[in-house]
């Protein structure tokens, strides 16, 4: 089972998805400039939390593309995966910049100390650092330069990145772990699907 959209629809659809993905940023920018009170009493925290949530949403969307593609047979989805991954990186940059700006006042030595001292910041920072090579090598040119096998091996880093991101969120919250738990369950399903498929393939290979 597989189906595809007419080719001419893919480009406009990409534009739409691109613009929709910018909405969280537009919401933040609009509020900062024209309506700070809509961000609540602690606008910097709201921005930090919103951008952080969107990193996780985009990571989970990126990881959902392959399972959804396999399950529905809609192969065009793969054409959106790079954009989703890059948006995860983009909101990670927004998140990281608001942290070092609003919380640490761009004081780099203070920031370094904090990152090393606080496990939850350290794992978040590790996830961010690991995203950088994936963002850089996301282009077609890099796929060719590295070769498909090496490229996809490198991009398997997205699995530990997603785990670190959710651990970061889990360790941040004081008592109510509802949302980290929800994200962890979604991630578990997405990763288990891959393990299950690989297991299935091996069994079929052994049988033949």
């Amino acid at each position: 089972m597989s189906f595809a959209l007419p080719k001419r629809l893919i480009a406009p659809l990409k534009v739409i998805v691109f613009l929709l993905s910018l909405l969280p940023l537009a919401r933040i920018a609009y509020a900062v400039v024209l309506d700070p009170i809509s961000l609540g009493a602690n606008p910097a925290e709201t921005i930090l939390h919103m951008s952080g949530d969107w990193v996780i949403y985009f990571l989970l969307i990126t990881l959902a593309i392959t399972p959804v593609r396999k399950l529905t047979g809609w192969n065009d989805l793969i054409k959106f995966r790079r954009m989703m991954g890059l948006y995860a990186f983009f909101y990670a940059c927004v998140h990281f910049l608001s942290y070092i700006g609003f919380d640490r006042l761009f004081d780099l030595s203070d920031m370094t100390q904090e990152i090393v001292k606080r496990p939850f910041i350290l794992v978040g920072f590790a996830a961010f650092v690991l995203l950088v090579p994936l963002a850089i090598t996301s282009t077609r040119g890099w796929v060719l330069r590295l070769g498909g096998a090496r490229w996809s091996a490198l991009h398997k880093l997205v699995y530990p990145i997603a785990v670190l991101g959710i651990v970061h969120y889990w360790w941040l919250v004081k008592r109510d772990i509802t949302w980290p738990l929800v994200f962890a369950l979604v991630l578990t399903v997405l990763l288990a699907y891959r393990g299950f498929r690989r297991g299935g393939k091996k069994i079929r290979a052994a049988a033949s």
Partner: protein, 315 residues
């Protein structure tokens, strides 16, 4: 979404196609919708925690250079886990708490145990005190509270020489407080002070803020405020006060003994395990650029209570 939401219409609010196509039925529909809106508005007005003006004098306390935080912000950004763990939930959910009638039972090591009705407390002489409130989460607000020194209330029940600590117990009603239905903390919320801290003139038995009785989300109808300690020490919606011989184990000490100590004095030199306490964000500022002061700036008044104590060990 976890902590914020974009305004999206509910399915029930979208006019069905057949209704908007049929003008007469549309008008009827609009009338019903209008009536529903009006009713909804009335219901909200009735349930929203109605605050009442208070009469009070100006208290003499250390003067702060910062202006009070906007009331709108101080009443919509609250840590009150009995009504939900986000900052916005208490303002949405707290109207269900019934604060009339209300009694505060005072007992333990006292010569004259007594139960006060909230009206007894409101009838006492009240004063307004503008304090900085520093949350353990590294933000602060400046709030004009209305109340009286806790020592005034204590003198009415005559604590005995056995009373070494005071334990405050907050209300916990699962049917009125959604957070109490889940085990986020060990309900009811309890807090405590050492006797000399409780009797310190700055410790305020608080009945109001911004000139009116407390909104429910801010701990109506009565709470405690110790301005030199982190905000979580300030138990809300108090129903019981016990004078006790042993240091009470508070709700947050039970939840995270390595993160939340009994003393919880504001102290830039002692970090929270997960974040620095050196700076704070004076809301609604974007930048956490205010340098946190030891004892939240009330050192001249309270530092002597802790002379000789290792405040890093007794955090």
């Amino acid at each position: 979404m976890p902590r914020y939401s974009f305004p999206t219409p509910k399915g029930s609010e979208i006019t069905p196609r057949e209704v908007y196509l049929d003008r007469r039925r549309f008008i009827a529909g609009a009338t019903i919708a209008g009536a529903a809106l009006a009713l909804g508005g009335a219901a909200r007005a009735a349930t929203a925690s109605a605050t009442e003006p208070l009469t009070f004098s100006k208290g003499v306390v250390p003067v702060l250079s910062d202006k009070p935080t906007a009331r709108e912000l101080a009443t919509t950004y609250n840590n009150y886990y009995e009504f939900g763990t986000s900052k916005a939930e208490p303002a949405h959910n707290a109207s269900t708490l019934k604060i009339k009638p209300w009694t505060v039972e005072i007992g333990g090591e006292v010569a004259k145990p007594r139960t006060f009705g909230i009206e007894d407390l409101l009838a006492m002489e009240l004063e307004e005190r503008i304090y900085r409130m520093r949350c353990v989460e590294a933000w602060s607000m400046v709030i004009p509270w209305v109340g009286m020194s806790f020592s005034k209330l204590a003198s009415l029940v005559e604590p005995t020489s056995k009373a070494k600590y005071v334990k405050f117990t907050s209300v916990a009603r699962p049917e009125e407080m959604p957070g109490v239905r889940s085990r986020i903390l060990d309900w009811p919320y309890t807090e405590g002070l050492r006797m000399d801290e409780a009797m310190h003139p700055l410790t305020l038995l608080t009945l109001g803020m911004y000139g009116e009785t407390l909104p429910n989300q801010n701990g109506a109808p009565v709470r405690i405020i110790t301005p030199w300690k982190y905000g979580f020490k300030n138990a809300k919606s108090i129903v019981r006060i016990d004078f006790v011989a042993e240091q009470p184990r508070t709700a947050w000490m039970t939840a995270g003994p390595n993160e939340y100590g009994f003393y919880a004095n504001v102290n830039p030199e002692v970090d929270h395990p997960r974040w620095s306490q050196k700076h704070e964000r004076l809301l609604p500022a974007f930048f956490a650029s205010r340098e946190t002061e030891k004892f939240n700036g009330y050192g001249a008044e309270v530092a002597s209570l802790y002379s000789g104590m290792d405040l890093a060990a007794h955090f």
